[in-house]
Amino acid sequence: MSVFILPVLLLVLIVVSVAKRVKVYDCFLGGAKDSLSLVKSVFPYIAAIFVCIQLFRESGAADWLAKVLAKPLSYLGIPAEITQLMMLVPLSGGGAIALLEDIIARYGVDSYIARCAACVSGASETVFYISAVYLSACKAKKLRYAIPVSLFCTLLGTTAACLLCRFM
């Protein structure tokens, strides 16, 4: 079923474009052009986080951290392998994608862990980055409850994702 979602959406989009006399070819050229500059702006973050991840893992500190957090998280049904991703997601979008790629390579793309990780990174946002950027033009800087509420709800979403991946 889900195999059809994206291709069908794309097909509908192209049909609508043709109906509205939008130049499909020009759209593709524009998109490909934008992707270059997008990757250029994301690359430094990905590089930094990959260096960080690999050092952290090679030194054995990652295993230690995962061991410490495994117990409390297991009560929520969140596998310990997701721990690092959970902590990175609110901080860095490029970093989360990098870590997701790493998890996919380690555990296999269709494993429970990798599907879980995909859901977690697809269903969450860079909480700290967003609150900083959105307030960049404002005088008001006191965030009140915005960040704790966002983090708590992200945890809620993560718990739900891990649960849903067990049977979906």
Binding site: S35, V42, C52, C119, A123, E125, A137, T154, A160, L164
Partner: protein
Amino acid sequence: MNILFTALILISIAVMLAVSPAQVFPTMISGVKSAIELSVKLLAIYAVWLSALKMMQATGLDKKLSKLLRPVIKRLFKGDSDEAYSNISVNLSANMLGMGGVATPAGIKAMSLMQDGSEKITQNMALLIVINATSVQLVPATVIALRATAGSSDAASIFLPTLIATSISTLSGILICKTLSVKNDSPNRKTKTLSHNIGNVKSDFGKYILKMRRGK
């Protein structure tokens, strides 16, 4: 992020000096190597996805979505100007479609339109941050594409669980913000500590769960 990055690298290198000093530089370089491999993959993914987004913009689908959202937004963000409403609807609809480039400027504009001149952000501003920070994206295109390039048998199978998970986080975010702002509106309770707020969040969540159970 600066502090975190420095701390992590410092700890890792210190530990590695004790265990395997020869591995420090090769590890770092192989890290960047994986980053380049991922960037090439992302370049391909973005090229396809961004062109689809271009079509959405050209056909005006994004504007249609923001019009659909408008009444809901008016109700959620009561008491702000029409200009703020239209910026919020552009922001949220663009984020739903995964167009961060369009969403962010609109979000920044909306925020500056909603501020009341004080140092604290208003309740509606907090609400907009929470909605955005709990992710409203409908199709996690990058994630699905990454799974597809890794050879998944059904890359889009995460579509539904992701959508449900992100709906849960966003809806509970809205709910908590709304209950908090009702409490904050009552007089004599203007100064609140963080722990107080977290306590409220917890009790609100408990009530919410109870409601859900009763509903079932």
